[in-house]
Amino acid sequence: MTLIVLLIPLFPLLGFLVLGLGFRAVPKKWATVIGTGTVLLSFIVSMVVAFNLRYFAATLPGFSFDWISIGPLKIPFAFLIDPLSVVMLLIVTGVGFLIHLYSVGYMKEDPGYNRFFAYMNLFVFFMLLLVLGANYPVMFIGWEGVGLCSYLLIGFWFKNREYNNAAKKAFIMNRIGDLGFLLGMFLIFNTFGSMSFGQVFAQAKSMPAGSPAIVAITLLLFVGAVGKSAQIPLYTWLPDAMAGPTPVSALIHAATMVTAGVYMIARSNILYVLAPATMTVIGITGLATALFAASIAIFQNDIKKVLAYSTISQLGYMFVGLSVGAFTGAMFHLTTHAFFKALLFLGAGSVIHALGGEQDIRNMGGLRSRLPKTYWTFLIGTIAIAGIPPLSGFFSKDEILLHVFEYSWPMWKFAVAGSLMTAFYMFRLLFLVFFRDFRGTEAQQHHMHESPPVMTTPLIILAILAAVGGVLNIPEIFDGGSRLSAFLAPVFADAAAVTAHQVPLPHSTEWLLMGITLAGVAGMVLWAFNRYVRKQPVLLPDSARRSFIPNLLTKKYYIDELYDFIIVKPLDRLSTFLHDVVEIRFIDRIVNGVGNMVVWTGNTVRFIQTGNVGFYMFIMILGIILILFLNILI
């Protein structure tokens, strides 16, 4: 079993090495086979592992060799297979494979075809390391590695300066988070004397809740999660990251990498339940992000940006779920989100592909008849994300909302507000893209075509998953088995033991809450329908004057400008100042000053050298006499 686990990340790594080293020499056909095949193989092996785990063992032995080992510091390159990592494995390799398959069609004409698959395989490799790691450092390898791949793929079309800037921004913002993660690891090592999950969690169990060390650890790790999962205040890289090819947005910036933060916190659940202060911070951050991003999404006109803000908002929900201790709920939402958000992005990609690169929804419309498969799958994705039963999003979101309600009633109100906004902006997007008449150019209309089967097949599979994904964890109220909860229960057992067991809500309350949410969502859908389908939609160009709030939202609260003003520009100025003033005019001037002083002294003292022999002798004798007198005196 050990070696089989090793195969999972090995396949994509081999794919990367072959495509990366072979570079352009590998024929396109082979590149396709290698690029997608390796991920498929990983998926198959993951299925085998998952099957084994499900029916034979609670945890499987991982593979391990000593990576860094100095005295008590032992960091084995170890893998951990437990229900949590298996869930992530299946998402990464399964959804990853579908997206790879889709890319075959999407990237067909691109000259960097092989390079694209090399990077994608490398990404899958690092993501698998992140998921499989049995200690924080190995997780950190994956953590930084996926950041690198994200950088490479956002800037995939590296001729474009904007794209490169977006890529750099993503990497740097991630690195800010990574520093937090790194320091968190150090503190873990300092506190527990180990960085491996098993030992840390076992020791943490016996620690009192709210001890400062654990609060600090969890906060630092959360900083890492904030960077990776694009939460306030480090979220601005994600919308910019849409510069990358659309499959990248689907895989990295929707389904897998950005959820790493959620996974990490779910993995460290025992630490987090022992740090109520951190949980509050996470809850506030998550909720604020969810609302903030959703409100921006309402006014965006770039199809991918809407989805990007939607992703940020949904990630916010996952964090809210984590903060109230609904680890399963968060993981469940992560799973369904991977399905429907990947689906939505790929659908958006299909639209962009059909329109020859057009991304502005103001120039779309009426695509329903021309792109039927894309339309139907996109519709399913939209219904799923809006949380309308019986599609998957309803169940996962409902589970989080329910836990939020148990935890705090005002928080629930805000969370529901966010979910209503989600319904609105998603249906706005759907209606503007697929309904009424086409608003683009003649040429686009002429060129428009449904995507080839290699692209629509993944769409259909993902649509099915997004539709029925809810069965994974149908709650008890619907006579479901809560299978995912049961499956993940061993991982969250310790955390569940720490949190005070709450009396489950009466079914009547549950029904009521569900009813309120659904009524709101239905209202939102109708409102969007009224605004964008029944009436002629009002679409303002970017330059149009808007009243205060729409303007603020269209301009994304001016956060990018704010960061530019308070961080980027001052740093640039500081750099120039330090170099031109401190370095050259101060430090170096002192150094040169010492040298110049020697020169000056020499220049002054040389005048004693008069050349007059009599004078020299006089000085000499004066010196002798002085020495004599000094000898006598002292």
Binding site: Q609, N612, I621
Partner: protein, 105 residues
């Protein structure tokens, strides 16, 4: 007791100091390089005499051995000094030290 010790030591001291001072003054006030060299010889010899005198009084022959050393070294030094003076005279046609101020800053 040698002949040297028949004279009290402080006579030697006074005499040698006087001789030395004459030499110093000669070095300081004379402008002729030859005379300066001669004054230096005077200083050296005053020291030599003092060395010999103390050697006799303390019954330590080392002092007198030093005198011989000094005389040898002084002879060599005078030879070089005179050679330099001759060379200077050849190039500048003067041995007045106030003229010899080419070596200034």
């Amino acid at each position: 007791m040698t002949a040297l010790t028949t004279i009290p030591i402080h006579y030697y001291l006074v005499f040698c100091s006087t001789l030395f001072s004459i030499g110093v003054i000669g070095v300081l006030i004379k402008r002729n390089a030859l005379v300066i060299l001669m004054s230096i010889e005077l200083m050296i010899n005053s020291i030599n005499l003092l060395l010999a005198a103390f050697s006799a009084y303390t019954n330590d022959p080392a002092g007198q051995i030093f005198v011989f050393f000094i005389m040898v070294v002084a002879a060599a030094e005078v030879a070089i000094g005179l050679a330099i003076v001759v060379l200077i005279y050849r190039t500048t046609h003067s041995i007045d030290i106030n003229v010899l101020n080419k070596l200034k800053w």
